[in-house]
Amino acid sequence: MIKRIVIIDDSLFLIKQLTAFFEAVMGYQVVAAGADGTQALELYRKHKPDLMTLDITMPNKDGVEALAEILAADPNARVMIISAVRGPEMTRCLALGARGYMAKPLLFSDDQFVREFRESLEDIFGP
């Protein structure tokens, strides 16, 4: 079964890059994308994706708040944080229950980065 992904990031540039990676490299299907934490909740409820990627710094509602609310509604939600933020928010997201964390910039032309990203996804979905 093809994995269904929702991407949440306030950068169209990043959404485009991630969509290309998930669909062309991983063979997943990106079913929706949103630009803030409020949309993250709406799109999670609507699509119940196999994985949601979530940025931290976003307008209206940030990724940390959205993550807490998504996990409160569905403790089994698979959420991977993809953010340039490396401070205490990163630790907080992992403590809250994020399944993985990738730091921007996303180096899709770097084989080692792609291998690590793929391994993180495999860890999240299991064997």
Partner: protein, 178 residues
């Protein structure tokens, strides 16, 4: 802020680190060779005039900082040759600011001087915007034959509050009609 202010000392201490974060982040995003046009420097200046500015603030209870990226909008197709959508090209400048900020505020020297500052989302200004002449780190990076201008400044929150109070008490300075 005087040249002897501890913040100016900190800027001198961080100048190479900022230059390194900027160069690496832009290289990673553009996937092309980038280099500073000249070594980054500490100066009391406004950002150099450009047709597009991207501003990314960060803050804590004690400090407020901002990273400003300035580019000529006409240069964006050359800077992002593989991107045809003007909206996404502009958005990619915001992503540059986001990545530079994320790297720089997590830098050891930065943390030791200022603690952790939480970055905000970037916003844009088409052309000139109101900026105070602050001591800052500034420099230009050359990428795909075009220049990208960078500017970083930081101020104590107390300093900002004092300026706001001063404006409130003096109609001429606040710009309101007497």
């Amino acid at each position: 802020m005087s040249p002897n202010d501890p913040i100016v000392d900190a800027l001198y201490e961080m100048v190479r680190s900022f230059e390194g974060c900027v160069t690496w982040a832009i290289r990673a995003i553009l996937e092309t060779e980038t280099k500073p046009a000249l070594p980054f420097r500490v100066t009391a200046s406004f950002p150099e005039p450009q047709s597009l500015f991207c501003i990314l603030p960060a803050g804590s209870a004690n400090f407020h900082s901002q990273i400003i990226i300035g580019v000529e909008e006409a240069d964006l197709p050359a800077i992002f040759p593989s991107e045809v959508d003007p909206k996404i090209r502009r958005d990619a400048v915001g992503e540059m600011a986001n990545v530079i900020s994320g790297l720089f505020v997590a830098d050891d020297i930065f943390i030791s001087r200022f603690g952790y500052l939480k970055p905000s989302s970037p916003f844009f200004s088409d052309g000139p915007f109101t900026a105070r002449k602050d001591w800052s780190i500034e420099g230009n990076v050359e990428a795909n034959g075009k220049l990208i201008h960078l500017h970083f400044s930081i101020r104590p929150i107390e300093d900002i509050r004092e300026t706001s109070n001063l404006r409130g008490k003096n109609p001429e300075k606040s710009g309101t009609k007497p």
